[in-house]
Amino acid sequence: AQSVTQPDIHITVSEGASLELRCNYSYGATPYLFWYVQSPGQGLQLLLKYFSGDTLVQGIKGFEAEFKRSQSSFNLRKPSVHWSDAAEYFCAVGGPLSGGYNKLIFGAGTRLAVHP
């Protein structure tokens, strides 16, 4: 079965510190992988995506993620966190086994708090 696991429910970091949010997936084929961000009271916004090619992908707001096939992981990183990064982050997987039409499977989310 296809699934996404985000092991950390809550993470707190200090402003200026580095950040890594974990994502593990289960998928029976080459996956498409995504990170979305949800600010309080808002919908989800795409941060970055991986389809193929370079396993290190760059996204908006200074985020990057690395696809590691051997570990079934797609961890999100940022070298220096800003207070405005406080939000909930969702990892998602899609691809041919999801029936097409962009039917994504989402993880449970990681809520990020940033201390000044």
Binding site: V4, G41, G43, L44, F90, Y101, N102, L104
Partner: protein, 115 residues
């Protein structure tokens, strides 16, 4: 510059009442989706549509119905609301041109409470 608009944004229902959530998108997208978001469970797909006049079941379709009479609108209906349907509902859309990119465009959500 509206994107995806959901109405209403908040609603309180009593058990057994019915209601309809409306989603409208102005991006001429082919595909539209309804997700529900519950704490600790992420987003789960309720129903989706791949074009005007078509709908299909997602992961958690029971207790919901949908209709896509116009390309820009996707309605989610609850015929007899239950407390288990208390949730935040998100509508999303994506275009055929992005069918291989997976990017969904989300509305701001509709918070529904069923007493």
């Amino acid at each position: 510059n509206a994107g995806v608009t959901q109405t209403p944004k908040f609603r309180v229902l009593k058990t057994g009442q019915s209601m309809t959530l409306l989603c409208a998108q102005d991006m001429n997208h082919e595909y539209m989706y309804w997700y529900r978001q519950d704490p600790g469970m992420g987003l789960r797909l309720i129903h989706y549509s791949v074009g005007e006049g078509t709908t299909a079941k997602g992961e958690v379709p029971d207790g919901y119905n949908v209709s896509r009479l116009k390309k820009q609108n996707f309605l989610l209906g609850l015929e007899s609301a239950a407390p288990s349907q208390t949730s935040v509902y998100f509508c999303a859309s994506s275009g055929r041109a992005s069918s291989n990119t997976g990017e969904l465009f989300f509305g701001e959500g509709s918070r529904l409470t069923v007493l």
